[in-house]
Amino acid sequence: MPYIYKMSNAGGMSTVTRYTDMLAGNSVFNPSSFDSISTVVVGAGSAASITFSSIPQTYKHLQIRLFAKNSDGNAFGSVAMSINGGAGEARHDIYGTGSANGVSGTGGSFIVYIGGNAQFGGGIVDILDYTDTNKTKVSRGLSGVDNNGSGLSAFVSGLETTQTAISSLTFASTSTNLSQYSHFALYGIKGQKMAAGTTYEKISSTTLGSASGSVTFSSIPATYTDLVLVINATMAVNADVTLIFNGDTANNYSSTYMKGNGTSVGSSRFSGYPKIYLDTLNTGTGIVQYNVNIMNYANSITRKTVISKYSGAEKGVETVAGLWAATASITSMTITGDGANFTAGSTFNLYGIAAA
């Protein structure tokens, strides 16, 4: 076969390297599979609903990430999702309010829980195979809000029996209008190799070479919309894992939990605390993981919402809706083993997701 020659500046274009493939010594390019499609931010004057229309049919799955509230004065609000203008057939929730947990099942639209008063709630919704006309449309979401004294953390699924490909999605407040600064971002996830995007990017990564009580990510760029922190860790003894932002150790944090330990279901809350507890089950000595979403972290207008899930086969499952009652943009975060060290080999990966 013909050779590929690369000439370089070193040596005044006299350096020539010969290759037998078109990569010419470069790495294989793998296009990203996670793309931002569209973003809607509610402006001044509020809005009853927002709509994504003319959704491209070129992806395999959709993800909607939202940061929103209405003003009905309740501990939490909700938005109902309509697919192609339809009303939905069924919805099922499991939730914890901090003082109680429960289940609801009803007809009608899939919903995402948001803030209902002062704080913005967060939600991550996944719809798989949205263009497949062999399938009805099933939605799955983790959402919640914390108000430092009240709140809710929930896992919701919904069914719309239409088999038509999804071309539009509408999120409508189920009570008062959506407040200014409510933010809805639509992402497409590919099912085949396509042109590249740079929506989902690694920011920083830490793997502990020796035991340590904390890990800090500093100088977090403000160029993304949401942050995703993935922790995979072990500890030598049981301990909680906690999170603070920008070095703030004052009692500016609160959280609402829903948890299951393999025997029972519960819900609890911390209010006015010096940190967000990412789990209250205690980490245990087995390896565990946290998937932590920090929504709209870079804005300097709203307080900051955390939607997190803890998974530890030794201890159980826990979902968290957390609040940092500060409007500052998040520029750093510190993850701490409360009274114990993370063992060597524990990993902490921070990613940014950029909405269009």
Partner: protein, 169 residues
């Protein structure tokens, strides 16, 4: 900049249904794996377990589950399921053409530690009674994950399984 979120492979069940779907020879070049599952079982009843095996083995698996069982919030250990339960998927008695929506994340799948994973999903159905929830799982082996096998007591045509790699490089 290296790409962070990349499709590795996709599998769609054809006509006739299959006992299981396997992703083999999983590249070892990513940090974490994410597997999105839209699946249905051809077995009788309203729902069935979607299960997983690592590197061809169903051994060394433990988990805890938080979710809805019918109309009640419950939490179970893996022993209650008797299989390597991830989440429930609709079966032949569920609303027609309705497939479960689930996702599993496997962090550090190439490490020499035991492998934790996190799953959520369920058999959403046009019914007041369903089974959906969140799973915390552990595969107590130090080997890198090179294959994943998903089963559901015969997976129906049009069931899809999409595997992604997330890189922290």
């Amino acid at each position: 900049m290296p790409t962070t979120y990349t499709l590795i492979a996709s599998n769609t069940v054809g006509a006739g249904a299959v006992a299981s779907v396997t992703f083999s020879s999983i590249p070892q070049t990513y940090t974490d794996l994410v597997l999105k599952v839209s699946a249905r079982s051809t077995a009788g009843g309203a729902f069935n377990n979607c299960t997983i095996a690592f590197n061809g083995s169903s051994a060394n698996y433990t988990s805890k589950w938080l979710g809805i069982a019918g109309t009640t919030p419950v939490s179970f250990t893996q022993a209650a399921f008797g299989v390597n339960h991830l989440f429930y998927i609709p079966a032949s008695g569920a609303t027609a053409n309705t497939f479960g929506n689930g996702e599993i994340m496997f962090p550090n799948y190439t490490s020499s530690n035991f492998k934790s994973f996190s799953a959520d999903g369920g058999n959403e159905d046009n019914n007041t009674s369903i089974y959906e929830g969140l799973t915390a799982g552990l595969w107590s082996q130090t080997a890198a994950v090179t294959s994943l096998t998903l089963a559901g007591n015969n997976l129906a045509q049009y069931s899809t399984f999409t595997l992604y790699g997330i890189s922290n490089a």
